[in-house]
Each structure stands twice: as structure tokens, then as C-alpha cells.
């Protein structure tokens, strides 16, 4: 009992220290995508960056890919110099799985291979999908859900990532900057 409590307290403490909060500079990270190409936070200085936690086996992710939510938004924002990166922290996922999924869905952005969960724990990613928006100065400006439609029933869901990035492009502050993300839990290695 005591050990569990200690672990929780420690986790809460570490979590508080480690995951960047809104307005915090994101620490430099590096990760390889499905083709083994290295991506670093620092190399995207000057660009807004969207990180999308993904897992093709999660029905919430499937729903959004069927609806084209991610692909379309990545394309629209890509035209405005915004970098879109998917991250898969599922411990069973392989680069080949990602390549197959990418081909099936026909999207072009890289998917960072985070099967050891380092990047996921760094950002405090807990669901798929879970979205993070970082501004051109490397400061975290939005984290949370992709939209306000957790049941997939809204006719015109409000896309929080879109509105956050649009705000940044207009030199404004995203509002909301934090929402409760929904979806499957990230399947981290224990």
C-alpha cells in the first residue's frame, strides 16, 4: 500500500516536473520515423508543430482516419508551413506496421516510432488520439482532444487543433489551450 502510494506520489511529482505545461518550452527531443529518419525538436524551430498520438488499432483513431480528420487538416496546415508528425507509442507497433497503415490510408507525414514510450511520457500523452501543438518558438500552446466530438455524432465538430494553429498563425493565443482528450489509452510498454 505504502509503496503504491509512494509510486503514485513520485509519478505525480515527476509528471508535474517532466511534462511541459501550456506556455512551457518543450525540451529538445529526437525520435526516428518508420523509415529510420531522425526528427528533432530543434530542427523545426521557426515552424508550428502538431504532434498526433496515434494507434491504428484504436477505434477512435480508425474513425478519424475514415473521416479524414487528420489527413485533411495536415494537408491544409502543411500549406501554411505547419509541421505535422504522428507518434505511435504502442509497444507492439513496428515500422512495417506503420508503413502498411500509411499506404492503406494514403497520408504522407512521418510517424515517429516510440515503442519504448519515451516521447509519450515526455509529453504526457495518454490517449489515441492525443494532440499537442507547439509554436515556432518551441513553446507548447495546445494539448488535448482533436475535437469536441467524442462519440462521433456531431454534424460539425469543433476541431480544437485547427483553431489552435489558426490562432498561432494569427499571432493570437489558442482558446481553449487545454481540453480533456478522449480515446483509447496509449498502449505503453509496462
Amino acid at each position: 500500500m505504502k509503496r503504491i502510494a509512494l509510486a503514485i506520489a513520485a509519478a505525480a511529482l515527476l509528471g508535474a516536473v517532466q511534462s511541459p505545461k501550456i506556455g512551457d518550452r518543450v525540451p529538445d527531443w529526437s525520435a526516428r520515423d518508420e523509415n529510420g529518419v531522425e526528427h528533432k525538436m530543434s530542427q523545426y524551430a521557426g515552424h508550428a508543430v502538431v504532434l498526433e498520438w496515434t494507434n491504428p488499432e484504436c477505434p477512435f483513431v480508425e474513425r478519424h482516419y475514415q473521416a479524414g480528420t487528420m489527413k485533411q487538416l495536415a494537408t491544409v496546415l502543411g500549406a501554411k508551413d505547419v509541421v505535422w508528425l504522428a507518434v505511435n507509442s504502442t509497444y507492439t507497433n513496428t515500422a512495417d506496421d506503420t508503413k502498411a497503415w500509411k499506404q492503406e490510408q494514403g497520408f504522407s507525414y512521418a510517424t515517429l516510432q516510440d515503442e519504448d514510450g519515451k516521447l509519450g511520457h515526455l509529453f504526457g500523452a495518454r490517449t489515441t488520439p492525443h494532440m499537442f501543438v507547439i509554436d515556432a518558438k518551441g513553446v507548447l500552446r495546445y494539448r488535448g482532444a482533436i475535437d469536441d466530438d467524442q462519440y462521433g455524432r456531431a454534424e460539425k465538430p469543433k476541431n480544437y487543433v485547427d483553431s489552435a494553429v489558426q490562432a498561432l498563425l494569427a499571432s493570437a493565443s489558442p482558446d481553449p489551450s487545454e481540453t480533456q482528450s478522449y480515446g483509447c489509452s496509449v498502449k505503453y510498454k509496462d
Binding site: 481553449p176 482528450s181 489509452s185
Partner: protein
């Protein structure tokens, strides 16, 4: 073929054991197929077969999950989604679902925490038909239900069945099931006869703030303070951190960090929380919501949590509200065995630190220089003294613990240093100190056996005296509190008799430890200077130091019981000194029996004199207080009234016997700058004087987790705000800053 058959049989058995009610075909469906195997089954249930218009009844959906699969609570937590129920009943009003208390699921060592239900759950909603409705009405439910094991599968349910709306109510066969689940639905605290309060580490939460909070739960009505009437409460879940499930409201995320049992909750408990607010501004104050599982007298109860959560704008000035009870305490109130050791350790540490407090220092000095005289008598003698002193300390601590237990059994709650609230005790200690000082002056020796005095010569101190000095050290130590002692004593006062004894013994052992070490470690004993003619002079000097302590005690008595009492005590002390002097003279004649008789007579007369001292009656307020006092007499109602008028309020709790309080008052509260600030900002000031026992003050102290004085509270002028609790050791700067923060002048407002 045999294995699938076995599995099928087991499933059948499981189904039978669960005994889900049979419902019309249209009211039953399975969903969330996992490779063709549905993981979730839903049944539409009605608690009535027939109802009258206007009468409330319940509709519900019974969700049955496969083993290891779960659905979510209304706050799914850090992943998942709650079931989304859409009822359609023509001509009826459907209320919000009643959510039974959920389980807590932790993945990855708590990195992802979610709330939900395994096996099955009934989500019921109250329904009332409008008066014009009659005949058979179709009850329809469309639901989205996410069911997860490791993987998640979204399920969809479309269920319906009719209900008869007519002239009579008729409960259905499913009514009992509704009642069983209702027992798990949290109810408002008031309905349960419980009191729930939230404490926060700051006066208001701004966007992006990380903060600490605590939920305090007890079963006593406010202000009653009648300890035996309060039932003992415990978190009802196996893990304490699962006893409170928070909602995600106002962008505030909460997690339980621990639980503790502060004495002021009288059998209740407190859950400490860590919280973080989202970066987005909130429109005004929000609420702290969730559900709590509590065990009272072996019964588990579920209560709703719905408390104010004050909010402020980004960059706004907020006051830090330091409260020791906000810190997570990793021990479990269900298993005090773990915590006891921590408390004992604190007590031990506190005891050691007590040695350095001004109360005990003179006694310790006497002991150490007593060693100088002993040095020539070899190790065995020194060790014997060390052990005797320790025994004296432990015996008196045990006696103190006994008194605390006895008083508690009699329904009186006391605090640390409580004995100084009794004038007769103050008088007794003064008497003891005078006698002790006279012995240091050489007027008499602590021996009845005169022949041995003669032969012993330089061996003036005996083991018996060391024991007695141990007693004295404890008695003098109590008006001083040291770091750690407060926490340990606070813990002890709320615990069992055995625990109180253990904690008090630990404080005693800590108190005795430095001297014991000097006696036991030969190298340390050697550091003590050799005895010589100077030791006799030093003894006399220390005797005067003790007389100084007597002056302090006389002053306490004078303030609390008046000048007449003070004079009575002085007269008594004079008579006592004369008696001691006569005894000493007889002792020096070296005749055993007269000395023994004289000693006994002296002790008897001394005790009788003490008993008949006319000092019990408290002086009428004001007569013994010629000095201008700061503030009005404390009463919780007056403070409330002042705050209702919108005035900033400063409340301080003090006692004449509390040295720390007196130093603060002299150095800070009497400071001209402080007085000016108080006046300019329109502070209403209240003084809670705990010199004598006062139940209202004890309760107010307990509310802030204190077992004794001092306590300083600064309330701002805004209604409902928590006070700023100032540190026990005040400085002018800290105090003035707190005043400015609580009651900014118009030009200072941001």
C-alpha cells in the same frame, strides 16, 4: 471441441450466477464485437410495469461486460469516454443518469488513470410523465458505450420496451435491482449526516496553477465538538487513493495523494489532493466535484462531493494558505501501524530538539555540570546517573500520557502544554523549582539518611536526584514546542492509548538522549571539565537561573489568576523555603530519625499548603490586565460578523505560558509599523487567549491542525476566502506583507 464447450458452460454458469433479469427481446442487445464475439450486453430495465402520470419512476440500462472488460464512469479519466445515453420517451421528462461509485483503473503504474465499471452496472435515470399521457408508451434508448479491456471497442445499443401509464403505480420485478444499484449511488453529504470541507493551498486557483488541496470529512455537526458523538470514518476502498473519484470540471484535474487523520476531525479523515488547472481562464469560481466512498461502523457509504473551488484570473495576486494538513501523508489511516513509526521518529527528533529550547536548557546545564562532580567517581556511577535521569524523563512522560488519556476518557480535549492552564500546577512547579534552587544553594541535600551525607562528602548528587531532574526537565519542557513535536503530539492526541504512550515515551527518550549519550559514551564524558571549587559556585548560579524561571511562573499566575493569587503563592513559597531551611539545619545535625521525621513533615505540610492555596478562582477579566491589549476577545460569531461587514480581520491565539507567543507579540504585534498598518487597513482584531482552557479556542486551533498556540490568521475582506495562516515564528515583514496581501489599499489593487 471440449475446450470451447467448457468455456461455453462456464459462460452459462457466470450468466446464471449474475442472474440478469429477463426482458422483452426488443430490450436486449449485444454489441462491441471482438472478432465476432460481442463484449457488451445491454438490457433496458424499468422499475415499474405501470405508473401514474406525474409519479416518478426509473428507467435504466444494465450493462453486462465480459470478464476483464470495463465501461467508464461519467468522468472516464485520462482516457476512454463515458457511456452516452439518449432516452426517448414521449410525453416524459428524463433526468440525468445516476452513476454508481466507480472503480479506479491504473495503467502503466498510474500514468493513465481511468474510472469505470467491470462485470456490470445499472445506469438509472428518473422519469416523470406529463399529466396528459396515458396508455402504453414506448421507452427507447440509443446509447454509445465504449467497452475496453486492453483494446477498446465502441458499442452501440438501440433498445426499447413499453410501459403502461395509467391510474396506478405497479413496481416491476426489476425494482429490487434498481434499489440495489441505488445503494451505490453517491448521495449529498448532508443526507448522510456528514460534514465535508475543502482546503486549498492558495486562496484562489489561477489558470495553469498546480496546487494542493484536501477534502476533510467528519461526522460531527459543526460546533458541537462533542467527540464521542462523532463516528469513526475511513476511506472505503482498499487503496486510499481510490476513495475519491474526481470529476473533470472547470479544467481542473485532481488526484488523491494520500490520507491522514488530523485530531480536529474527531474520527473523520482527510484526503490530500494534488490539482492542476488548465491554462484557460475560467468564468468565475468553479466547483470541486466527485464522489467519495466512506466506511462508517462497518457500512460503506457513498457521498457526493460538490464544493466551491475559488478561481482567479491569470496573473492575479493570490495568497498562499499554508496548512500542514495539505501535505500528502503516505501512511494509511486504515493501517496506523505503518504511520506509527513515522510519528515515533518525529517524536524522538522533536524530543532531542526540545533540549535546545529555553525551557529545558537550565535543567540540562545543571545535569551536565553535575557530571563534572561525578567524573571522579568512575564510569559505573556516571552510567547509573544517565539511566536514572532517563528513567525520570520517561516516567514523567508516561504520567503525562496517562493524564491525557484520562482527560480524553472524561470527555475533555487538551493540547500540548495544557497543564500550564491550571493555576495549581503552575504553583506546584514554582514550589518544586524553589526547593530545587535551595538544594543547589546547599541549604539541604536530597537525602534523608544523614550519616551517608556526611560520608559521601563531595558525592552530593545521587541517582535519585538524577531521576528527579528528569521529571523536572519534562515538566519544564511542555510550554515550549519544538519542530516535529507538534506534528507528533497532534498525531498522538488523535490515536489510541497505546499510541499516545508510545509517542510520549519517544519524545521523552529524545529529550533524555543527549545527556544519556554523554553518560554512556566515555569519550564524551571526558569532555566535561573536572570538578573543583568552581562547581559549587556554578551550582549556586544555576540555582538563581531556576529562581528566574519561578519569576516567569509567578508572572503567568499573576496574569491568569490575578495579583491576589500571585501574592498567595509568594507567601507560600516563602514559608516553603523556611521549612526547607529548617529541614536542612536538622539534616546537618547528622541524626537520622529527626531528619527523617522533619522531611516527612515538610512534604506533608508543603502539599497541604499547596492544596489550600487560594489561587483557583480566575480573576475577572480586565482587573489583572493593566496593559493595553491588542484586539477584542475572540469569538467565532464576532469574527463572522466582522467579515460579513466586509472588514479584514486579524485573529491571533496566544497564552501567557507560551514563550513563543509572547516573543512574537513583543517583537511584531507591538511594533509601530505593524500597528499603523493594522489601523490604516481597517483590520478588526481578535485575540484568543488560551492561557486558561477554552473549548471554543481549542476547536478553532484544531480546525487549522494545531494542538496548541500560537496561531495567526489574516482574513481578507472578500467573503468566503480562506485566511492566510502565518508562520509560528513571526517577523514584522512577513506580517506586514500578509496584511497588505489580504487587504490591499485601493491604489495597491491590481
Amino acid at each position: 471441441m471440449s475446450r470451447p464447450l467448457l468455456v461455453f458452460a462456464l459462460l452459462l454458469l457466470a450468466g446464471a450466477a449474475r442472474a440478469a433479469p429477463s426482458v422483452p427481446e426488443s430490450a436486449l442487445a449485444s454489441t462491441a464485437p471482438d472478432r465476432g464475439n460481442p463484449r457488451l450486453e445491454g438490457r433496458l430495465l424499468l422499475d415499474h410495469d405501470a405508473v401514474r402520470p406525474g409519479a416518478q419512476f426509473r428507467v435504466g440500462v444494465l450493462l453486462s461486460m465480459d470478464r476483464h472488460w470495463h465501461v467508464y464512469w461519467r468522468n472516464s479519466g485520462q482516457s476512454g469516454t463515458p457511456p452516452n445515453l439518449r432516452w426517448q420517451i414521449a410525453g416524459a421528462e428524463v433526468g440525468a443518469p445516476e452513476w454508481p461509485f466507480p472503480e479506479v483503473f491504473r495503467e502503466n503504474g498510474g500514468f493513465i488513470t481511468t474510472y469505470g465499471y467491470t462485470d456490470e452496472v445499472l445506469l438509472a435515470s428518473p422519469v416523470t410523465f406529463a399529466s396528459r399521457v396515458s396508455g402504453d408508451v414506448e421507452v427507447r434508448l440509443d446509447a454509445d458505450v465504449l467497452v475496453c479491456e486492453v483494446q477498446c471497442i465502441p458499442g452501440e445499443l438501440h433498445l426499447s420496451r413499453p410501459i403502461r401509464v395509467g391510474v396506478a403505480d405497479q413496481a416491476s420485478a426489476e425494482y429490487e435491482l434498481f434499489e440495489r444499484w441505488r445503494a451505490r449511488v453517491p448521495r449529498p453529504v448532508g443526507e448522510r449526516g456528514l460534514e465535508l470541507e475543502a482546503l486549498y493551498s492558495q486562496s484562489a486557483i489561477r489558470p495553469g496553477d498546480s496546487f494542493r488541496a484536501a477534502l476533510a470529512l467528519h461526522s460531527c455537526a459543526k460546533g458541537s465538538g462533542d467527540a464521542p458523538a462523532c463516528a469513526a470514518l475511513s476511506p472505503a476502498t482498499e487503496k486510499i487513493e481510490d476513495a475519491f473519484v474526481p470529476e473533470h470540471t472547470g479544467g481542473v484535474e485532481l488526484a488523491v495523494t494520500g490520507a491522514r487523520r488530523p485530531p480536529f476531525l474527531a474520527g473523520g479523515f482527510l484526503l490530500t489532493l494534488s490539482g492542476s488547472a488548465s491554462h484557460d481562464a475560467s468564468a468565475g469560481d468553479t466547483r470541486l466535484r466527485g464522489a467519495l466512498a466512506v466506511t462508517r461502523k462497518g457500512e460503506t457509504e457513498f457521498v457526493e462531493v460538490d464544493l466551491p473551488l475559488p478561481r482567479a484570473a491569470a496573473g492575479a495576486k493570490v495568497a498562499a494558505l499554508e496548512n500542514p494538513w495539505l501535505d500528502p501523508d503516505l501512511r494509511s489511516p486504515n493501517a496506523p501501524a505503518i504511520s506509527l513509526w513515522q510519528a515515533v521518529l518525529l517524536a524522538l527528533l522533536g524530543g532531542v530538539v526540545l533540549n535546545a529550547m529555553p525551557c529545558v536548557l537550565p535543567v540540562l546545564a545543571i545535569k551536565v555540570f553535575g557530571l563534572a562532580e561525578l567524573a571522579q567517581h568512575g564510569r559505573a556511577e556516571i552510567v547509573r546517573h544517565g539511566i536514572a535521569y532517563t528513567a525520570g524523563v520517561l516516567a514523567s512522560m508516561l504520567a503525562l500520557a496517562g493524564i491525557v488519556v484520562a482527560l480524553r476518557a472524561a470527555g475533555t480535549s487538551v493540547g500540548w502544554g495544557f497543564q500550564f492552564q491550571e493555576p495549581i500546577f503552575v504553583a506546584a512547579i514554582a514550589a518544586v523549582l524553589v526547593v530545587f534552587a535551595l538544594s543547589l544553594f546547599g541549604v539541604f541535600e536530597f537525602r534523608l539518611d544523614a550519616t551517608r551525607i556526611a560520608s559521601a562528602g563531595a558525592q552530593a548528587t545521587g541517582a535519585r536526584r538524577s531521576f528527579f531532574e528528569g521529571l523536572l526537565a519534562v515538566v519544564l519542557a511542555t510550554p515550549c514546542t519544538a519542530p516535529f513535536v507538534g506534528t507528533a503530539v497532534g498525531f498522538a492526541f488523535a490515536s489510541s492509548t497505546a499510541t499516545i504512550a508510545a509517542i510520549f515515551l519517544a519524545i521523552g527518550f529524545g529529550l533524555a538522549l543527549p545527556f544519556l549519550l554523554v553518560c554512556l559514551v566515555p569519550a564524551w564524558a571526558k569532555l566535561v571539565p573536572r570538578s573543583g571549587p568552581w562547581t559549587a559556585q556554578l551550582r549556586a548560579a544555576l540555582g538563581f537561573a531556576l529562581l528566574g524561571t519561578v519569576v516567569w511562573l509567578l508572572w503567568i499566575l499573576g496574569r491568569s489568576a490575578g495579583a491576589d493569587s500571585q501574592a498567595a503563592l509568594l507567601a507560600y513559597l516563602c514559608a516553603l523555603a523556611a521549612g526547607v531551611w529548617v529541614f536542612g539545619a536538622i539534616q546537618r545535625t547528622e541524626r537520622v530519625s529527626p531528619a527523617r521525621i522533619a522531611g516527612i513533615v515538610l512534604v506533608v505540610l508543603g502539599l497541604l499548603g499547596l492544596r489550600s492555596l487560594p489561587i483557583g478562582a480566575p480573576a475577572p477579566a480586565g482587573t489583572a490586565r493593566p496593559v493595553a491589549e491588542l484586539g477584542r476577545h475572540f469569538s467565532a460569531a464576532d469574527v463572522e460578523a466582522a467579515r460579513a461587514r466586509g472588514a479584514p480581520v486579524f485573529v491571533y491565539f496566544t497564552a501567557e505560558w507560551c514563550l513563543t507567543c509572547k516573543v512574537n507579540e513583543h517583537v511584531v504585534l507591538d511594533d509601530a509599523r505593524v500597528r499603523a498598518e493594522l489601523e490604516q487597513r481597517g483590520f478588526e482584531i481578535f485575540k484568543g487567549d488560551w492561557t486558561r482552557r477554552d473549548e471554543a479556542i481549542r476547536q478553532e486551533l484544531a480546525r487549522f491542525g494545531k494542538a496548541g498556540v500560537p496561531l495567526y490568521l489574516v482574513y481578507g475582506s472578500s467573503a468566503g476566502a480562506q485566511p492566510i495562516v502565518l508562520p509560528e515564528l513571526l517577523t514584522v515583514d512577513v506580517f506586514v506583507n500578509a496584511l497588505r496581501e489580504a487587504a490591499p489599499k485601493t491604489e495597491e489593487k491590481t
